[in-house]
Amino acid sequence: MIKVENLTKKFGDFIAVDNVSFSVNKGEIFAFLGPNGAGKTTTIKMLTTLLRPTSGVIYVSGKDPAKDQNEVRRSFGIVFQDPSLDDELTAYENMEFHGVLYGVPKEIRKARIEQLLKFVELWDRKDKLVKNFSGGMKRRLEVARGLIHHPKILFLDEPTLGLDPQTRSHIWSYIRKLSNEEKMTVFFTTHYMEEAEKIAQKVAVIDNGKIAAKGTPSELKEQTKTASLEDSFLALTGKKIREEGANPIDEMRIRRKMFRH
């Protein structure tokens, strides 16, 4: 479903993703793990047509995201690392907007929006503006939104960040069900290793832009002779805390927060 060969992305002199190769089969749940700044989000952006690779080959559902952009875009849904909802629109309008952009016919759209909003328990707040939602509610809405067009692949970039265990288990059980029943491929990143261990069938660990290890969680544990995925992760990537450079957008986000409070 996803095939990546010798993928490299440079920003000037900085090599964010360095000669990375991996593949994900149809219906598989794949965890892409790595410390901050390892190149996870950059890789996702290249897989989802937002960035062009410097070199290397990518196939997402058999197509090249750099060439057949629209076919690739139709095939996946995504929940971004940072919020991507329109605060000034209601929950329903955000869903509707997405449905129209993806060309989901009206009747099907209405039915799916209702079903998904009910599932994430936001149906009774569908007409409230998103800016009044809590972080967890926004996250749930984003997950629901990413599923409206029934994607073949679902990308989740730290989807459960800041969610309580109830919401997390609720969301994961639904995603697992979709992956089982509809053969939906799931590609996700997370910092919660126990989550990756429990949910992912296959794992790749990326560090400093390079793949440090890949395989099933038990293969990784065997390889590093550790008892949990968390320990193998630390064994693979070391214990040093990573620094991530703040880009202008991050700075603005900080300023916006100050402005709001």
Binding site: L50, L51, D82, L85, V100, M252
Partner: protein
């Protein structure tokens, strides 16, 4: 078509939900109208310029449209920061449609803004022309609006964040506004100014508005219409090219 419509609708909804922004963006032109209108009115009349309010109102309408339209384009930067742009950019929709939908939405909002200012100006003594001239003036309002909404898109595609915005405001928008003849007639100014003014698209917009709202039809209006349409078309092309190059 549906895609352009939903993007347009989003801009309209965002507009009417931000009540404080509506008031804010009408208050500033209104302040100009009152301060300049009553402040310079007597001198203008003595200088033989006639009724200053009649002269000023088209300029103030254009001012309101100019700022609203450019800001609507610049909103792309906000969408970039707050992530919503990513949602539209990963959708299986051409960038051109996204850009058209947004620009039409922002332009429509700016026209509404212009109409509100026109309505309010009646209370400070502006005399309306006949209905067919009002309709013609709407065409010019729309042209100014789409032209500057497209310019806003161009600017937003080039800027990384809002840091550069102050520069754009002081070195592009304010000069465009002052040199357009919105506040004072450009006749009799040093030649340098009239040459620069003739390169200012807002100058033609204001000529068009003055012609339709105040002084009546004349051949120059068609000329203004053509120039505005041409510049709008060019900015659309540049804007959609730059917009399609946005990477986040």
């Amino acid at each position: 078509m549906k895609v352009i419509y939903i993007l347009w609708l989003r801009q309209i909804k965002r507009y009417y939900r931000a009540k404080s922004r509506i008031i804010g963006s009408i208050a500033q032109p209104l302040l100009f109208l009152l301060a300049f209108g009553f402040g310079f009115g007597p001198i203008f009349q003595k200088g033989g310029g006639g009724n200053y309010i009649q002269f000023l109102v088209p300029g103030i309408i254009a001012m309101g449209i100019l700022f609203t339209a450019v800001f609507s384009g610049i909103e792309i930067i906000w969408d970039k920061q707050f992530g919503f742009l990513k949602e539209t950019l990963v959708a299986p929709v051409s960038r051109l449609k996204i850009m058209i939908g947004r620009t039409l939405g922002g332009g429509t909002v700016a026209v509404i803004q212009g109409v509100i200012i026109l309505a309010v100006s009646l209370f400070v003594g502006f005399h309306l022309p006949g209905p067919h001239m009002i309709i013609l003036s709407l065409i010019f309002m729309a042209l100014i609006a789409f032209l500057f909404a497209a310019l806003g898109t161009v600017i937003a595609s080039l800027l990384e964040d809002m840091q550069g915005f102050q520069l754009i405001m002081n070195f592009l928008l304010m000069p465009l506004f002052f040199l357009s003849g919105a506040l004072f007639p450009l006749q009799g100014l040093p030649r340098v100014f009239t040459i620069i003014a003739s390169m200012d698209p807002l100058f033609y917009g204001i000529e068009g508005l003055r012609g339709t709202l105040v002084s009546g039809l004349h051949l120059g209006l068609f000329h203004d219409f053509l120039i505005l349409s041409a510049i709008t078309a060019i900015l659309f092309v540049i804007g959609s090219y730059l917009f399609s190059k946005i990477e986040i």
